[in-house]
């Protein structure tokens, strides 16, 4: 009873729970709305019982001054990628980069170092400066364009980690902003282009130069990269601010189902409920964990074949061969949901490593996220002014080409392409009698 009251109180104090509640209020039926709090409370109670049974909660230690006097000798690397947000249909200009912030606080010289580890500025289809192989697309949807950008960013981030390993960097820690292993299912879509030979050779020199074109597909190249990263001598963690799914809770329940502690029926029913109410790890763990507490990692299979991957296909088999990911959580601050910690190996020094993540997050007390990742995020981000400038430049170039052509239809097309996203004056309905 006490447990129930305690959790209910926590829910009331918990801002992100109410955000979700409001989301449900907008999207779900009235019945779902009414049940939301009660259901979440019940799921949290059950999850807490299982977590306690599995002895997964650990208390982390942090005393500001003492912590930093001990850890000032550590060399840490923080990695993040940035993509420009230029949105132009057709052959889009693209700029992507991945940056590293490397810092050793007690170093006498070169205490900190900002490195633009991977940069690409060019056009997706420019044969002289290409990232992906040219594909003869019948249609070029925004969705595909965004997928290409995402794919490029993910591969650049992985390539940055690979580069540090290849250069034999002596890091005590390496952190990636975002999941260490991204979900690859979106890239299984038919027609997704392969990277050029040049790009793959430069990013991942260990991939066999003579291998076939398939090896340059995102999924194959990424798998190779992750397998390489898994062998790293220094610990590498992916840090995710908010979880939009519930991999930890689902896997925990799954493990208990396998052990026979939970019946198949109960398991299926609770998984259905979690999906129905869009309950995520963040929501549950935010009310279970207190500030400075962490959950020991669980091994999770991240790559699950969705509807785009046909059962028994080559992609399904490939996705099965991706390494499993160890997922843990740390509640770094009273105000924020726990951050997700991903690694490809079980942490050798779990408590020390998690305490380091907690310590670096305490420097952002309100945001509750490792400050080094905040720093590298600002460094790697492609600023708006750069995106805007490249868009302006591209627009001018396109219009000039069209005007040179002297064909009215080409000019109209150019104008439409440029104003696709906004309701430009050029596309306004014409009043009066149409011609």
């Amino acid at each position: 009873m006490t447990l129930k009251i305690d959790i209910k109180d926590k829910i009331k104090q918990n801002s992100s729970m109410f955000v979700n509640f409001i989301k449900n209020a907008i999207t779900a039926s009235p019945k779902v709305q009414n049940n939301f709090l009660e259901v979440t409370t019940k799921v949290a109670e059950t999850a807490l019982k299982i977590i306690k049974d599995a002895d997964l909660i650990v208390d982390l230690n942090y005393k500001g001054k003492e912590f930093w006097s001990i850890n000032r000798c550590k060399t840490s690397c923080f990695i993040d990628g940035g993509v420009d947000r230029t949105s132009i249909i057709s052959s889009a200009p693209l700029s992507i980069r991945a940056g590293s912030y490397i810092v050793k606080p007690d170093a006498t010289s070169k205490r900190e170092f900002f490195e633009e580890s991977m940069v690409f500025l060019g056009d997706l289809y420019d044969p002289k400066n290409e990232l992906y192989d040219f594909v003869d697309d019948d249609f070029e949807e925004d969705q595909m364009l965004n997928k290409k950008k995402d794919g490029a960013r993910i591969i650049f981030e992985a390539a940055t980690i690979v580069k540090h390993i290849l250069l034999n960097k002596k890091f005590d820690y390496c952190f990636l902003h975002g999941p260490l292993e991204a979900t690859v299912m979106p890239f299984t879509v038919a027609g997704f282009p392969t990277f050029t030979k040049f790009a793959v050779e430069n990013m991942f020199p260990f991939i066999n130069k003579n291998s076939n074109i398939e090896s340059r597909h995102f999924i194959n190249a990424y798998l190779e990269a992750l397998n390489y990263i898994k062998k790293s001598k220094f610990p590498i963690y992916g840090i995710v601010e908010t979880s939009n799914s519930a991999p930890y809770i689902k896997n925990l329940l799954f493990n208990y189902k396998i052990k026979g502690t939970i019946s198949d029926k109960d398991y299926n029913s609770v998984i259905k409920t979690i999906k129905k109410y869009k309950i995520t790890d963040s929501h549950i763990l935010e009310i279970i964990l207190s500030s400075g507490q962490a959950l020991k990692p669980l091994e999770v299979k991240k790559q699950l074949a969705g509807f785009t991957v046909t059962s028994g296909s080559a992609w399904e088999e490939k996705m099965d061969s991706f390494p499993k990911v160890f997922i843990g959580y740390i509640k770094t601050s009273d105000n924020q949901a726990p951050v997700r910690i991903e690694s490809l190996n079980y942490p050798k020094y779990l408590i020390k490593d998690y305490e380091y993540i907690l310590g670096t997050s305490r420097l952002l007390p309100n945001y509750g996220f490792p400050v080094g990742l905040n720093v590298v995020d600002k460094f790697a981000k492609i600023p708006n002014w750069m995106s805007k400038t490249s868009r302006k430049y591209y627009a001018t170039h396109l219009l000039r080409q069209a005007i040179k052509n002297k064909d009215q239809n080409t000019v109209s097309l150019a104008v439409k392409i440029l104003s696709k996203k906004s309701r430009s004056w050029k596309n306004r309905p014409i009043g009066g009698i149409s011609k």
Partner: protein
């Protein structure tokens, strides 16, 4: 070949520019606020060709920021007493962004740096910003000043080796205001100007309240052997035409009078004609006459009862007493400096050449006088001197007047002291002075308390440290060339550092005024009162008084004892 190529690159022009200002990213520690910088540009010329030019500007502000240092990290560092260098927070990502006010451009390809011309085409974004050599900056200033009588006042604040000169001709004809808190450097600047005017043999008339300029008298023989430095004490002499000033003085210094009493005073002034001479004697005469009329029950004044006449007589006695006290106070101060030769101020109406003469500086030592009598004296003297310049005979040479503590002589309308006699005189001198060569320098620590019309007629300004926001606003209100960025700098200026602007320099420049230490008045002392008290010993008279006081106390004590 342009000199531009020889200067060091210190930054890059940012974003959008216009013809008045631009921003640039500065290399660490390569320039300071107030520095002069350049950038190469190309302009369309009047004949349609494009010409290469050098655009000159002044750094008016510098922002330093570390976008990689989150504000909330500071909270944790403070709460936990953590040294940032122990943490993973970045310490080297500072960025410097400078705002540059464009001064103008010079054409390239000329042997000498020409006069600055107004820019009419924006500088190029992404252009290199360079740091010109001190020699070239000085050359620019001299060529731009284009003055036949340049006066050296110090150096550019940001660069010790760049001498700053002002235009002497504009200084003495177009009027100048000098603002700044007490001890900020106003007097240092005025001494500098007066020194240069002595060197030019240009006459000056200084209204000295505190004795700040007596150093000129002390050191005249040594440093200005070819000049005369005269030291005057006030002589309250009036003429028949000064009736209004006399009335105001009596009205303000004496008791408050009722309307019938004021009528009597007016009639008295009409009746008792005065042919000129000492004001004190005149007031004493008025007092005597008022008493006589009151005692005799005179009926020559309509509706004025003898009682009212007595009140006026009493008021006149108070005024004469006050004037006597002021004269005595001034004399006491003069006696302390017995080694200096004080002369009675000659009659400015009849002997103006004794006050204004080529190569002469005249100092009127006003210490001890209250504002109103001091204002009356200044009004009478300046009125006379100005009249002599106005007249076709031109009995005196053009001269330059220095008015210290100007808020006492030309108070703002908001002070409700419009009837101060010197306001109208100075307003007239300043508005017509350009024609007649009677330039004025007004000096105050409270610019907001100075008459706005007079202040705004000063075409040049020197502003030293000012903390009071009302006074800061007043400085920008009265100036056409002092920007808000300049005003922001005012509270942070150190002693002797000021911003000079207006027609004497063409644009506002932060300067360090040259300190003429040799001209300090040795008699003023260093105001170290703690040392004075430490070495204090009572005078013999005081010792004696204390001794007697003890004796009398003993007598009183015995006297008050109860008898057995």
């Amino acid at each position: 070949m342009s000199k531009f190529n020889n200067w060091k690159a210190i930054g890059t022009v940012l974003g959008e520019t216009d013809i008045n200002e631009y921003h640039f990213s500065l290399k660490n520690y390569k320039a300071k606020k107030g520095d002069i910088v350049t950038t190469a540009s190309r302009l369309p010329s009047t004949d349609g060709t494009v010409i290469p030019v050098t655009v000159w500007g002044k750094i008016s502000s510098i922002e330093r920021f570390n976008a990689f240092f989150p504000a909330e990290a500071a909270q944790e560092l403070t709460n936990e007493d953590i040294d940032i260098r122990d943490t993973i927070l970045p310490t080297t990502k500072d960025e410097l962004r400078c705002k540059v006010i464009i001064l103008g451009y010079t054409e390239d390809g000329k042997e000498k740096i020409s006069k600055l011309l107004p820019l009419n085409y924006p500088v190029m974004p992404a252009a290199i910003v360079k740091y010109p050599s001190s020699k070239d900056v000085e050359e620019l200033f001299i060529s731009d000043l284009d003055s036949s009588h340049p006066i050296s006042i110090g150096n550019l604040l940001a660069r010790k080796d760049v001498e700053i000169k002002i235009d002497g001709d504009n200084l003495i004809s177009r009027h100048i205001s000098v603002w700044g808190m007490s001890g900020s450097g106003k007097t240092v600047f005025v001494r500098r100007i007066l020194t240069e005017l002595l060197n030019l043999k240009y006459p000056s008339f200084v209204l000295d309240i505190h004795g700040d300029y007596l150093g000129f008298v002390q050191k005249q023989k040594k440093y200005f052997p070819d000049n005369k430095v005269k030291l005057f004490y006030p002589n309250l002499s009036v003429r028949a035409e000064d009736k209004e000033i006399v009335y105001t003085l009596i009205d303000k210094l004496g008791n408050t009078l009722t309307d019938p009493q004021k009528d009597f005073l007016n009639s008295l002034l009409e009746k008792i004609k005065y042919e000129g001479g000492s004001l004190l004697q005149y007031i004493k005469l008025l007092n005597l006459k008022a008493r006589e009329f009151a005692s005799s029950g005179s009926t020559s004044f309509k509706n004025v009862k003898p009682a009212s006449m007595f009140v006026v007589a009493r008021s006149l006695r108070i005024v004469s007493k006050k004037l006597e006290n002021m004269e005595q106070t001034n004399a006491r101060h003069r006696r302390k400096m017995s080694h200096l030769k004080f002369e009675e101020l000659p009659d400015s109406a009849t002997e103006p050449e004794k006050i204004i003469s080529k190569g002469q500086m005249s100092i009127l030592y006003l210490r001890g006088y209250e504002n109103l009598p001091a204002s009356a004296i200044v009004s009478i003297v300046l009125e006379n001197l100005f009249r002599h310049r106005q007249e076709a005979s031109e009995e005196i040479a053009p001269f330059f007047t220095v008015i210290e503590e100007a808020h006492n002589f030309i108070p703002s309308r908001s002070e409700n002291k419009d009837d101060i006699p010197s306001v109208d005189t100075i307003r007239k001198v300043i508005s017509e002075g350009r024609k007649f060569g009677t330039g004025v320098m007004i000096i105050s620590q409270r610019p907001s308390r100075v008459d706005e019309t007079i202040a705004s007629q000063c075409n040049s300004q020197v502003v030293f440290r000012i903390v009071n926001q009302r006074d800061q606003r007043a400085t920008t209100r009265d100036s056409e060339t002092l920007s808000n960025d300049d005003a922001k700098q005012l509270p942070n200026l150190a002693n002797g550092q000021g911003i000079i602007s207006g027609q004497i320099v063409n644009y506002s420049l932060p300067v360090q005024i040259k300190f003429d230490e040799k001209l300090i008045n040795d008699d003023i002392g260093n105001e170290n009162f703690i040392d004075t008290v430490e070495n204090w010993d009572d005078k013999e008279s005081v010792k004696l008084r204390k001794k007697f006081a003890k004796d009398f106390a003993d007598i009183n004590e015995i006297d008050s004892r109860r008898a057995n």
